[in-house]
């Protein structure tokens, strides 16, 4: 089944995606890596839209279901090893029941590669949950 990304519905996501496109999402990451990651994220988003991205419960899958918020999915753009990048890009999204086949991007962020001392990943997941609730509320009203 084909899916459609609702790219314009979460304003904060739009800001983050624009920042990625301008090479400014994370000042600790070079513009070259921003472009590379943009390519990877877009490729994975297209795959997700075609229903070709595997979703699972652990790190071996390109998309992981969050155990803390069961409906939030984490897209994990992965590039082969090499020099370990200091920051990893993550896209958090959800599949709302309505409209059918929709994919709702919630948060585009980075996290440390390795020990997440400041719990940045958890903060991103919490933010994704908040944005999904706001979206749901806005749709219902």
């Amino acid at each position: 089944m084909a899916h459609t990304w609702l790219d314009d519905e979460v304003a904060d996501f739009v800001v983050e995606y624009d920042a990625l496109k301008s090479g400014q999402l994370d000042p600790a990451v070079t513009k070259r890596v921003h472009l590379d990651m943009l390519g990877v994220v877009n490729s994975m988003r297209n795959k997700a839209a075609r229903g070709q991205l595997e979703v699972g419960a652990d790190n071996t899958f390109p998309v992981r279901v969050m155990s803390s918020v069961y409906y939030v999915l984490e897209m994990r753009p992965k590039l082969a090893g090499g020099p370990r990048p200091p920051r990893l890009f993550r896209l958090y999204y959800a599949e709302p029941a309505e409209p059918e086949g929709a994919l709702l991007p919630l948060v585009l962020s980075t996290k440390p590669n390795g020990v997440d001392a400041h719990q940045e990943q958890n903060a991103s997941i919490a933010e994704a949950k908040t944005r999904s609730r706001v979206w749901q509320f806005t749709k219902a009203s």
């Binding site: 624009d18 496109k21 301008s22 400014q24 472009l35 943009l38 390519g39 877009n42 082969a80």
Partner: protein
């Protein structure tokens, strides 16, 4: 890209395409490994690697150097062919810039500008 100017759609599409080419290459080498009938132990022995590294090479978890890629392809009996196509995103961008800034004089009939058939 210069300054804070956003990446163009063409640049993003090119980055996505190059990523997909890498994914395809890793997948193709993995398939060649399976078809070769080698075990991961055989491969590790042939490439003088420990088991974990050999597994990483096959699963695409390691950024191989071009020479390592060649060695892996030799070991799994695969021929790797490279093809580079200049896309000219930057060139087209520069050309558009110039053409937009250039004022062209209208061509008069009988001038030195001749259509070549």
């Amino acid at each position: 890209m210069t300054g804070n100017q956003p990446f163009s759609d063409e640049q993003i599409a090119l980055a996505a395409s190059n990523y997909e080419a890498q994914v395809w290459l890793v997948g193709a080498l993995k398939r060649a490994f399976k078809m070769s009938g080698l075990s991961i132990e055989d491969l590790a022995l042939e490439l003088d690697l420990d088991l974990e590294t050999a597994t990483g090479w096959i699963h695409g978890d390691v950024d191989l150097t071009l020479s390592e890629l060649r060695h892996l392809a030799n070991a799994v009996d695969a021929k790797v062919a490279y093809r580079v196509e200049p896309i000219r995103n930057r060139y087209v961008g520069r050309f558009k810039d110039i053409s937009e800034r250039t004022e062209w004089a209208p061509v008069e009939v009988g001038s030195n500008w001749v259509a070549i058939n």
